[in-house]
């Protein structure tokens, strides 16, 4: 393969990878740290994308729209977790299957509702940075990818700081490791987990906006992103935000290279292929707990 | 046939940066009543998990009847004759008490020759010996805490083990119930079963054990007769602090 094309693919891959990492952050918290079988995460992502689409229809910038959606999605996350906790987690061991089926059902319902409201066609948004490219020497880098990269970076940085410097952030990390100890410290693990899940879904609102900035979105996209988000979270290692970032970059680059060599039909399968490989070889991932 | 049933040689186990067991070695003699004590977090259950196969030890060797078992999956160790009860009961909640016992009977004792009538009768015998016979048809999910503990023990007994490990079977029981469980364990031992008992109820451990070993922070700090262990300064310090 031509070295120029390889450079371009890698560059595109890094921008894409950062985006994939950001898109997986919600899952990294919900599943990686809280152990919730949140298979509906990609569905919420697509929901965020379509909600952004609606806001853009009213004249808002997509990123701004995503930020404005965050409080709404936060409340949604609180509600979903509370319901999940009361119905499933509290009852003990046998509920694994039910919890999983529940989230699968939710994902499915979200997808169908989106189809009923918006149809199966792809939707796009417009913004000053969508459609234009930056010229860097011989390569052209789409501005929308740069914007997504930037927002993703800020988001990940913000989350890392939040988890390590604030009390609630550290409590979230603690609840992932030792609920009992947290209880002894006077904090209520359920409240912390609920906040964490709310945070995860709130982040998903913004990253959903990034989703529709980066490319067109249709309701069926959620299924493809099950592969990408779980690939990133599992490859990175459950519970590790730095792992999510590294894994996102790896996925982005590999997918980008496959895209240039084998074509668009095979790109979605890359994430699933890597995921199967990781599960077979090293299920703990790169930085797993 | 040597005197040693279970030989634990220099077993270590780490969880990430945390060392749960550090070079633990002990020989359990055939037919012995062996007590294992230590403060919370000292590694007792981790050691039991490594012996029973719920965990793999990182280094060292575990020999049962002269045979190295550290690479064997847990179900094969049970079939060789090692059974354990769990500290927090893990019943098969969708099954009756009786059926809970049928599982080890079918999968350990009667592999290759299954006659339902016999397994039910055997299971009832075990339930009778432990005082759960009237709950035979009750769903395991409806048992009280005490009954669940007895079920744990009964299920381990149903595997007809040569080595039975009881992990805090008496926690939270009344003193009459503790005596009941002790009586059962004594009877099993008289029938030839080697028993390792983990307990916090000191008088029970001291009455029951011929030898006692104390762990602290993953290391053996004392091994000897009950009297020797109680008198040992390190043991006292581990439990009561300096």
């Amino acid at each position: 393969m031509d070295i120029e094309l390889l450079y371009e693919a890698i560059l595109a891959g890094i921008l894409l990878g950062c985006f994939y990492a950001a898109v997986s952050l919600g899952l990294s918290i919900a599943f990686g740290l809280l152990d919730v079988p949140h298979i509906a995460h990609p569905a919420f992502l697509v929901l965020g994308a379509f909600a952004t689409y609606v806001l853009v229809g009213h004249g808002l910038d997509p990123i701004l729209g995503g930020v404005l959606l965050m409080p709404l999605f936060f409340v949604l996350g609180l509600g979903v977790y509370q319901f999940y906790y009361v119905t499933f987690e509290r009852r003990g061991t046998d509920q694994g299957l039910r919890g999983l089926a529940f989230f699968f059902g939710i994902a499915f319902i979200v997808e169908v509702l989106l189809i009923l409201r918006f149809g199966v066609d792809q939707r796009m948004v417009e913004a000053p940075y969508i459609g234009q490219s930056l010229e860097l020497g011989d390569t052209r880098v789409p501005w929308r990818m740069i914007v997504a990269f930037g927002v993703a970076l800020v988001l990940m940085l913000g989350l890392t700081i939040f988890l390590s410097r604030t009390f609630i952030g550290r409590a979230i990390k603690a609840v992932a490791q030792d609920e009992g100890a947290l209880r002894l410290m006077g904090a209520d693990p359920v409240r912390i987990k609920r906040l964490a899940f709310g945070l995860a879904v709130a982040i998903t609102a913004l990253t959903g906006a990034l989703l529709i900035v980066v490319g067109p979105v249709d309701p069926g996209l959620g299924r493809i992103y099950i592969g990408r988000t779980f690939c990133v979270v599992v490859l990175g290692g459950l519970g590790s935000v730095p792992g999510t970032i590294v894994a996102g970059l790896i996925l982005g680059v590999v997918e980008s290279i496959v895209l240039s060599t084998a074509g668009a039909a095979w790109a979605p399968a890359v994430a699933f292929g890597i995921l199967l490989l990781v599960l077979a070889v090293r299920p703990a991932g790169l930085f797993g707990r | 046939m040597s005197d040693t049933l279970l030989a634990v040689q220099s077993v270590s186990k780490h969880f990430g940066g945390f060392t749960a067991l550090s070079e633990v070695s002990v020989d359990i003699r055939r037919g012995e009543r062996f007590g294992l004590i230590g403060p919370n977090g000292s590694g007792k259950t981790t050691l039991i998990n490594c012996i029973s196969g719920a965990l793999r030890n990182d280094s060292g060797a575990i020999r049962f009847e002269e045979r190295e078992i550290s690479r064997l999956p847990a179900y094969q160790r049970t079939r060789l004759g090692i059974a354990r009860s769990f500290q927090l009961p893990r019943p098969f909640s969708s099954m009756s008490v009786l059926e809970n016992l049928v599982v080890p009977l079918e999968y350990v004792v009667h592999r290759g020759s299954l006659h339902t009538a016999d397994t039910h009768r055997e299971a009832m015998e075990i339930l009778r010996s432990i005082g759960l016979a009237d709950k035979a048809q009750t769903l395991a999910s409806r048992l009280t805490q005490v009954e669940l503990r007895k079920l744990e023990l009964a299920r381990a007994m149903a595997a007809r083990p040569r080595l039975l490990i009881s992990d805090e079977a008496m926690a939270g029981l009344s003193s009459a119930e503790v005596d009941e469980i002790l009586a059962i364990l004594f009877r099993l031992n008289e029938a030839g079963i080697t028993i390792i008992m983990i307990e916090h109820i000191m008088h029970a451990v001291m009455r029951f054990s011929q030898r006692v070993m104390c762990l602290d922070a993953g290391r053996i700090i004392c091994e000897g007769t009950p009297a020797q262990t109680v008198a040992n300064a390190d043991v006292q310090r581990a439990y009561l602090g300096t």
């Binding site: 299957l97 995921l275 599960l279 | 893990r90 999968y107 009750t138």
Partner: protein
């Protein structure tokens, strides 16, 4: 053979006789199309439940196993014009292998990883099929039906009867597993895998067995698909509806007994047909999803569980031996 088994076999024989009688008496093709779909769901739901309901491992990619059976049948038919029974055997074999492979990969890990692996397999295989011209690619492949065998008017009636036989086979397998020591081991795994392992249950082997059997039955259900429809294309075979239905039907019907998936398949399959025909196919899919969530949340033991609660006068004993 126990009396229960004898009664079951007699019931199955009567069922098949009725099915055959139907082909002699009814000539409206639509009836057979519709019944075929319901019978197909019985096989899929029953197959799903062997791994999902009995062992507790949730397959989100049933469509893949179904599709592998279908495309194995197509490939064999295209290459060698084999009779349909051979396609069924081949489809079952290949899908069974797929179940074994996915299981070997992911059943050592926590349940959710197996579930994700099944999604992964579904998408990867769909991508492979779409990019394989021999199998028709994205456009699909029309299939010419051969002449029906001697006892049947039309090939459609023959595939309908074949699916009836497969339904009986699937239920027979499920019932055998459920009432045997294998079923008890699977239930132990579902209730508490760690304790099962310590009670001598070879958990990995049993899970692999269940995954293989489940996959094989799903593949058998898929194999006649191309000849039933005279056409095959990826979106209809890999349809998410199969994945969701295969999961929803046992949950709604009841996962603890072999009759649960049958009830779920018949009820939900009929509802689906009605909604699709009277309202829309999107709404049909929504109805399945909503029912799934409602039952998972409110009636986890399914319709069987609800019926049991209604009949039970006092505190229960354990579920007795199956019929």
């Amino acid at each position: 053979m126990s009396t229960g088994t004898v009664r079951f076999l007699i019931g199955a024989a009567i069922f098949l006789a009725l099915a055959y009688g139907l082909t002699r008496l009814v000539s409206n093709e639509y009836v057979f199309f519709a019944l075929y779909v319901v019978l197909q769901f019985i096989v899929l739901a029953t197959a799903w439940n062997i791994l999902g309901g009995y062992a507790g491992y949730v397959n989100f990619g049933s469509g893949a196993f179904f599709a592998v059976g279908a495309y194995t049948g197509v490939a064999l038919y295209k290459a060698l014009a084999t009779p349909i029974l051979l396609q069924v055997v081949a489809g079952a074999f290949v899908s069974g292998l797929l179940g074994l492979a996915v299981g070997a990969l992911s059943l050592r890990l926590r349940g959710i990883f197996f579930s994700i692996a099944t999604v992964a397999v579904a998408i990867v295989l769909e991508t492979v099929v779409v990019n394989t011209p021999y199998l028709g690619g994205a456009k699909g492949l029309p299939i010419l039906r051969p002449e029906p065998p001697a006892l049947f008017h039309s090939y459609l009636e023959w595939t309908f009867f074949l699916m009836a036989m497969l339904a009986v086979l699937a239920v027979f397998c499920a019932r055998y597993v459920e009432t045997s020591w294998i079923g008890r081991g699977l239930r132990a795994i579902r209730d508490n895998e760690g304790a099962a392992e310590c009670s001598g249950v070879p958990t990995l082997k049993l899970k692999l067995f269940a995954a293989t059997l489940s996959g094989a039955l799903m593949g058998a259900a898929g194999a006649p698909f191309a000849l039933y429809l005279s056409f095959i294309e990826p979106t209809s075979v890999f349809n998410l509806n199969y994945a969701v239905s295969a999961l929803a039907m046992p949950i709604i019907g009841g996962m603890s007994h072999w009759i649960g998936p049958v009830i779920g398949a018949v009820l939900l399959g009929t509802v689906q047909q009605l909604v699709t025909v009277t309202i829309s196919s999107e709404l049909n899919v929504l109805v399945v999803g909503v029912l799934l969530v409602l039952f998972v949340v409110g009636a986890p033991d399914g319709i069987l569980g609800l019926v049991r609660k209604l009949r039970r006068p006092k505190a229960a004993s354990a579920a007795g031996a199956a019929a």
